[in-house]
């Protein structure tokens, strides 16, 4: 807080009147510009900005920059792709096929665009979770979290809209399913669906809308929010982790930190290019390949294996776990409600985490982050069908599904146990109720054989009862200090 306060004056150059007769630094073009626009004041501000140094690991500070780097790559390759892409019923698919087969290095540009999209989402998710675990969202940085959260949603929109543009079969059906979820919104559902699709069904009109969104609306919004996000960060500086011992002097942002950033960007570029050159159609993981495949045909029936990109797999799986009707509502409606609730909580974390607002450790929210990760991991593994190969010989479908769930449960439990042990020993965490509840649900569903929803309800209720009892008994376990 005090660090941020002392920096408020640093932007005072914004109010400076141009002093044409002032000395200005140096002669030549730089001096000429400096006398008019006070460039030295700007670099002076950057020179004084510091990145907190201390007992914490610096690595987390680079993830936002890496995400920005991949976004820049997306803009550059996206503009290049636009020079050959032609949206349209008879041209969209054909132009991408022409691009990848005839245009020199067209395959490479498309491959870089796809790889960079996936890497951007990976670095964005890592950035978001590290911010969450280290409580960088605590006051005064609530709005930095919110702007980052909105950027996360917009990026998901980028992934979803870009997926349809090659107009191939897989994208066609994935978009049909994906947009259909919108119909579950109460009252506005059917209107929203029509606005999104440009009609009742996914047609070429949907492609035009997604195209406009993907190349104009979303980029404008993202650039705006990135600007805001960066202004917030430049204004307040980067957050040291709660309770970390911070050295009195940090690292200078310019040039020390900025050059490290640049070096890392170069490394990212080389990794990106290596991946794009050697695996031009993706690593072959489900939800992470972009083989062009066959052209979309609205009159052809759907076929098995229609799945979204990997970062939407958990929603896809959750949708499958809901029965057709629940509490007098349709299954997808309840599912959408649950997803909206989870997203809502995620966006409001800076206000929900009341302990951290008083600069006290909030172990429950650290655990909440881990529980969320375990929840997502289990659903993603289920959708990935790991263990399906072994199960396919099992005969009836129910046994096959059980087998898949069992294998996924063991993997998730293993990962969860490892995380808990590391947190306990290395970070001295002592609060595991929520991640415990997540693992209980995995056990009840995957190993005991209860339905996914029943397992979830039992786990949530048990966790809630535990929290209420602990609150009344006044157990001191949750008062232990940790972050």
């Amino acid at each position: 807080m005090t660090l941020a306060g002392s920096r408020m004056g640093a932007l005072s150059f914004l109010n400076k009147k141009p002093d044409m007769n002032g000395p200005g630094k140096g002669g030549g073009l730089l001096g000429w510009l400096d006398r008019r626009y006070q460039l030295t004041a700007l670099t002076e501000f950057l020179r004084h900005k510091e990145v907190p140094l201390g007992s914490h690991w610096m690595g987390w500070y680079y993830l936002g920059g890496i995400t920005l780097f991949f976004f820049i790559v997306q803009v550059v390759t996206g503009v290049l792709l636009l020079m050959y892409y032609q949206p349209g019923e008879t041209t969209a698919y054909e132009s991408i096929r022409f691009l990848t087969t005839k245009v020199p290095f067209g395959w490479l540009i498309r491959s870089i665009h796809s790889w960079s999209a996936h890497l951007m989402i990976i670095s964005l998710v890592l950035h978001m979770f590290s911010t969450m675990m280290l409580k960088a969202y605590r006051p005064p940085r609530e709005l930095t979290w919110v702007s980052g959260y909105l950027l996360f949603l917009l990026t998901l929109g980028f992934g979803f809209s870009g997926y349809l543009l090659p107009w191939n079969k897989l994208a066609y059906f994935a978009t049909t399913v994906g947009t259909n979820i919108v119909a579950s919104v109460p009252l506005l559902g059917s209107w929203l669906l029509q606005v999104l699709r440009g009609g009742q069904d996914v047609t070429i009109n949907t492609l035009y809308r997604f195209f406009a969104g993907h190349v104009v609306i979303l980029p404008l919004a993202v650039v705006g929010f990135i600007g805001l996000h960066i202004v917030f960060i430049q204004r307040q500086g980067m957050a040291p982790p709660l309770g970390a011992k911070v050295a009195p002097r940090g690292m200078k942002f310019f040039p020390s930190f900025a050059l490290r950033d640049l070096l890392l960007w170069l490394a990212c570029l080389m990794v990106l290019l290596a991946l794009a050159v050697f695996l031009p159609y993706g690593p072959g993981i489900p939800g992470m390949d972009w083989e062009l495949g066959q052209k979309a045909d609205p009159l052809a029936p759907a076929y098995p294996g229609i799945k979204p990109e990997w970062y939407f797999l958990w929603e896809y799986q959750l949708l499958k776990e809901f029965p057709p009707h629940l509490f007098g509502l349709e299954g997808p409606q309840v599912c959408l409600l649950l997803i909206a609730l989870m997203f809502g909580i995620w966006g409001l974390i800076p206000w929900l985490d009341r302990r951290v607002r008083r600069d006290q450790p909030s172990p429950a929210f650290s655990d909440f982050g881990w529980a969320a990760l375990l929840f997502l991991t289990y659903l993603t593994l289920l959708a990935w069908d790991i263990g399906a190969g072994a199960a396919s010989g099992a005969g009836d479908e129910l046994t096959a599904l059980r087998n898949i769930a069992r294998v996924c449960a063991w993997w998730t439990l293993g990962a969860g146990a490892l995380v808990i042990v590391v947190r306990y020993l290395r970070y001295e965490h002592r609060w595991f109720l929520l991640s415990g509840a997540a693992l209980l649900q995995v056990t009840l569903h995957g190993l005991v054989g209860l339905t996914y929803l029943l397992a979830g309800v039992i786990s949530v209720v048990l966790a809630a009862v535990w929290i209420v009892v602990a609150h009344f008994v006044g157990s001191r376990t949750d008062r232990r200090s940790e972050t």
Partner: protein
């Protein structure tokens, strides 16, 4: 001059020079490697399509009959075909030699006219007035015995 004395008196300096050269050269190589695919990607592919003598389609022929001129593609170039009052056929590149606008034919005056900057050409393609610096390139237009019209590039 001063640097040279420095390098000779400090052997370490020349090692640094060498490393600088190495780093600079690698950077240059890296830059070329990055730029090459993009430059190749941006260069349009050569146009594919019919080349050689071109027959006028029925539509084009009737347009010629009606308007006394028609603009057709010949080997990827715009070519204006026109019918003089004496029924003689002419064909020229339709690209004005001034700024590349597509010219038109004015049957009343028997001139080729570029409306962009008011350039005028006669039926030999020579400049009559206006800013065009060169004559229009001529094409061969021949009526076949069966009545169809064939346009071909003039052999130099």
């Amino acid at each position: 001059m001063e640097e040279q004395t420095l390098t000779t008196s400090h052997p370490k300096k020349s090692r640094r020079d060498f490393l600088d050269l190495l780093v600079g050269a690698s950077f240059l190589g890296w830059l070329v490697t990055m730029a090459y695919p993009i430059i190749r990607y941006l260069k349009p592919l050569p146009q594919t399509g019919a080349s050689g003598p071109t027959h006028l389609t029925r539509d084009e022929s009737s347009k010629l009959e009606q308007n006394k001129f028609v603009i057709v593609p010949v080997s990827g170039q715009r070519v204006i075909v026109l019918q003089a009052p004496d029924q003689q056929l002419f064909a020229f590149s339709a690209k004005c030699t001034h700024e590349g606008c597509t010219i038109t034919y004015q049957p009343a005056q028997s001139v080729l006219w570029c409306p962009c900057h008011d350039g005028r050409f006669d039926l030999n393609g020579r400049v009559l007035s206006g800013p065009p610096p060169q004559a229009l390139a001529k094409y061969d237009a021949r009526r076949q015995p069966d009545g169809s019209i064939v346009i071909s590039e003039q052999k130099a």
